[in-house]
Every structure is written in C-alpha cells, then in structure tokens.
Amino acid sequence: MLDLVLSLLILAGATFTFIGSLGLARLQDFYTRLHGPTKATTLGVGSLLIASALYFSTRGESISLHEVLVTLFLFITAPASAHLLSKAALHLHVRSLAPLPQESAIADEGSAQRQKDSPSAESNKLFLKT
C-alpha cells in the first residue's frame, strides 16, 4: 500500500517536473514560458519532497519532516522569482504574443527613481521610505 502511494507520488512529481521543462522548451514567447517552471515544476518538486518525507518517516526510526521546509521555501520563492523575471522582461521590452501594456503601467520604482524630477516619483520615494 505504502509502496503504491510512494510510487504514485514519485511518478506524478517527476511528470510535473518534466511538463514544466517541456513548457519551457516548447512555448512561443517568454511570458508564456514563465508559467511552466513557476507552477508545474513547483508542484512536481513538492510532491517529490512529500514522497521523500513519507519514505524516510516510515523506514527510519523517527519521523522526518525537514522536507517540508524545502517545499515551503519553494512555494514562497517561486512566485517571487517569477515576478522579478517578468518585471525584468517588461523592462527590457522582450517580444510577447500578448499586446504589451502601456509604458506607464510598467514604470516601477526603479525607473521612477531615475526620473527624479517628476512629482509622482517624489511621492513614490516618500512612500517607500515610510
């Protein structure tokens, strides 16, 4: 029984990891490629880690939960790095299948700091300091 659950978790995890990378290699533009690794790969590695926790808890003398730590860490960091990557891509005007948003919409704190004379940048900086 345990063997079956473990095998299913491992296979599901590996399949999701593979699909994430397949999306990375196969999709057409950068912004759609971003979806593969952030979602599929995160869940894939998550279920692999759950399988690992189950495996070491059942065969060792004590329960093993530190895999949860890596899972949690990945679930927190994957969206953050995806956000930063897509922000960097918008900043560099990477080619996109979807119509790119207005220039004003992607004016982030970084470019606002460079145009120090504009009043909105001033208020933005004040907001960042508080």
């Binding site: 999701f16 699909i19 994430g20 397949l22 999306g23 196969r26 999709l27 057409q28 533009d29 912004y31 759609t32 971003l34 979806h35 593969g36 952030t38 979602k39 599929a40 995160t42 869940l43 004590s62 093993s64 939960l65 530190h66 949860v68 730590l69 679930f75 927190i76 994957a78 969206p79 953050a80 995806a82 956000h83 897509s86 922000k87 918008l90 996109s96 299948l97 979807a98 119509p99 790119l100 948003p101 919409a105 992607i106 004016a107 982030d108 704190e109 606002a112 909105s120 940048a121 208020s123 933005n124 907001f127």
Partner: protein, 163 residues
C-alpha cells in the same frame, strides 16, 4: 511586551523552522529554537517596519486550504495547456485594480496569483493601485480580473485589513 517580543508570530514561525531544520523534538532543541527565534527578530527589527495583525485566523486557514486545492487544479490546467497546441494559446496582460493597502497583503495576493489559475503577477504599479497580471490562456480578461478580486483579494482584505 512590545519591546522585548516585537513580533510574536515571527518568533513562533522561526521556532517551527528551527525544529524542522534540526529534524528532532528534544527539549534542548526546543529551548535553543525559542532562544534563536526570540533573538533574531530583535536583531533584524529594522527589516520589519509594520507589525502583523491577523484578524481572522480561521478564515486564513480556510483561505490556505482553498489556495492549496487551487494550486493542484491550476497545475493540471497548465499541464494540459502545455501538452496541447501552443499556437492556440490566448495570452493576455490584465490589470487588476487593488483595494489592499498593506505590503504583506499585496505580496500574499501576488504570490497567490502566481501560484494559482494560469496567471503570473508581473508588475505592481508605482502608486500601488493595480497589479499587472499575465495569463496563459483566457477568453474573457475582465471575468478573470473579477474572479481574482472575489476569490483571493476579498478574503485577504478581511483577514488583514478589516476592522
């Protein structure tokens, strides 16, 4: 209380992380974990400008369960889209207007959006009134923005910001 234990929730979380890291539950490790978790927030006080207030812990728990379930369904959707025909995807940038004000609530919302329904949050506007979201495949962008607002933003607002 406030001077010596500025962030009780962070202390609790750090203790849990320490116990997971050493992977044992002996008294010595619990004491060491509590000591570290008490000292670290004191030394990193300047990185935590706003104190955290969870007003509805029950709702937060239900929200977490819903997000976990959504992560699984979203993954199946994304997997199906990747294995399908990439030429037929309809990617769109959507602007989601924000009602949330606090840093923590906005970043939680952005993380939730990135992890769930075929969307990645791309950019927060400089004056924080909307979030730019990229979707992998959608027919109706406005309906998607409405879904994000009712399904994820409303509970977050109730948990962290309502009086």
């Amino acid at each position: 209380m406030h001077r010596w234990l500025p962030h009780p929730l962070i202390t609790l979380a750090l203790t849990l992380v320490w116990l997971l890291l050493v992977n044992s539950l002996t008294t010595g490790q619990i004491v060491l974990g509590l000591l570290l978790a008490w000292a670290i927030p004191l030394f990193t006080l300047r990185f935590w400008p706003e104190t955290l207030h969870i007003r509805r812990p029950g709702l937060l728990l239900r929200f977490a369960v819903r997000v976990l379930a959504d992560i699984v369904t979203a993954n199946l959707t994304v997997a199906r889209l990747i294995l399908g025909r990439p030429e037929q995807l309809r990617p769109v940038f959507v602007e989601v207007p924000l009602l949330l004000k606090s840093d923590l609530a906005i970043s939680l919302l952005a993380n939730t959006i990135s992890l769930t329904p075929g969307t990645v949050s791309s950019c927060l506007s400089a004056n924080r009134d909307y979030l730019l979201v990229h979707t992998l495949d959608t027919a109706d962008a406005d309906a998607l923005a409405a879904t994000i607002k009712t399904r994820y933003e409303a509970p977050l607002q109730e948990i962290f910001e309502s009086c």
